[in-house]
């Protein structure tokens, strides 16, 4: 009996020491994994009835009335045309005889969940959209404009082939990669524009609340369902197009699609959603 008690005390002490050490090291520097765990934990605490997996559905995880309308639209989602166009474009052979499947792992099928990735040779974050254009340029084809139907449709198709795949963004052991992540994180939490809002003001602090008649979604899961067909615009748009819109709406000067700022932001945001699954393309208002 005495031995057992002694073991118990030993274990408890060890546990205390372990916790203390962890706490000390955490306060010194929280890396991306700690950020992600804290980010996901925040939403789970804030919305205890929302399963973690449901965050990929954006506002529909938080708004029952909106969800029903979305379910109706998903009966026959309008992005099906973009996926079909994307598949046709994806199958095209370049003038030099190559195709997109030569540029990507797994021939480009079911790879979306690992984008954006940090390209150590280039020293920058490469998004899926950028990778599509890099592929074109490497094979002597002119790049598509980032808001073109062609590029968005290709992105929609590639997202579609990754439906259900677990988001798995890697930050390689490269100080530049960590710097890109930190830059995206800083952008996310920085106030901007005449309205002086940070992304986090709406999508972390005020997630689930309203800004006029808009019900604010949580940032967790945001990149999972892009590109999205927007009912308002009657077409599919990219994630960076939405960044552009959001930043314009807080009356700040928006950056261009695929600018380094947005790529780093996407890198940070998608990493935060690691563990959730891809469900793009999506349908939203």
């Amino acid at each position: 009996m005495a031995d057992k008690q002694e073991v118990k005390v030993q274990t408890t002490r060890q546990l205390l020491i372990f916790c203390l050490c962890t706490a000390l090291s955490s306060s010194a520097y929280a890396g991306p994994e700690e950020d992600r765990i804290a980010f996901q934990a925040y939403f789970q605490t804030r919305f205890p009835d929302v399963p973690l997996a449901d965050y990929i559905n954006g506002i529909y995880a938080l708004d029952e009335g909106a969800r029903r309308q979305w379910v109706d639209i998903e009966e026959f989602p309008p992005y099906e045309f973009a996926v079909e166009t994307g598949e046709l474009l994806f199958g095209q052979i370049f003038r030099n005889g190559n195709s997109y499947s030569d540029c990507f792992d797994s021939q480009g099928i079911g790879v979306r969940q690992r984008y954006p990735r940090f390209d150590s040779d280039r020293g920058e974050v490469v998004t899926l959209e950028m990778a599509i254009n890099l592929c074109r340029q490497r094979n002597g084809e002119p790049p598509y404009s980032y808001d073109s139907d062609e590029l968005v449709s290709l992105s929609a198709y590639m997202a579609w082939t990754s439906r259900g795949e677990v988001i798995d963004i890697a930050i390689p052991d490269d100080p530049q990669a960590l710097a890109a992540y930190e830059s995206g994180k800083q952008f996310y939490y920085s106030k901007r524009g005449q309205l002086n809002f940070a992304c986090s003001d709406c999508h972390v602090t005020s997630a689930g609340l309203y800004v006029r008649a808009d019900h604010l979604s949580a940032s967790l899961g945001h990149p999972s369902h892009f590109p999205v067909y927007r009912s308002k615009l009657g077409k599919v748009i990219s994630l960076h197009s939405r960044f552009y819109g959001c930043i314009r709406d807080v009356r700040a000067k928006p950056f261009a699609e695929q600018s380094i700022e947005y790529r780093n932001l996407e890198y940070f945001l998608t990493y935060m959603s690691n563990g959730l699954v891809v469900n793009g393309p999506g349908a939203r208002k």
């Binding site: 009966e75 026959f76 309008p78 099906e80 045309f81 079909e84 166009t85 046709l88 009657g234």
Partner: protein
Amino acid sequence: MASKIKVKVKLKGDIAEVKSLMLHPMETGARKDPDTGSTIPMHHITQLTFANNGEPVMVINCSTAVSRDPYFSFSFNGAKPGDTLTVNWVDNKGDSDSTEVVLK
């Protein structure tokens, strides 16, 4: 060329559940082009006809208030595998499009 009318049919006994989605701008004629400021002319599907083996099973008369990229669903009786369901629309500019699907 990718199709502009999509049709999905589920046969349950002799009832065919039809869902259809089609590409069309359905312009109301009240919208202004954000770049040029000029009004975008009205351009919308006026009538959509579904026929099974040539017999009309649904005719839908549309105004500009039908959403862009229209969606419709309905069910009809007396369907069987091998039947041909045709869908065709005409719009206010006189354009038209059609497609057909064999029920299975």
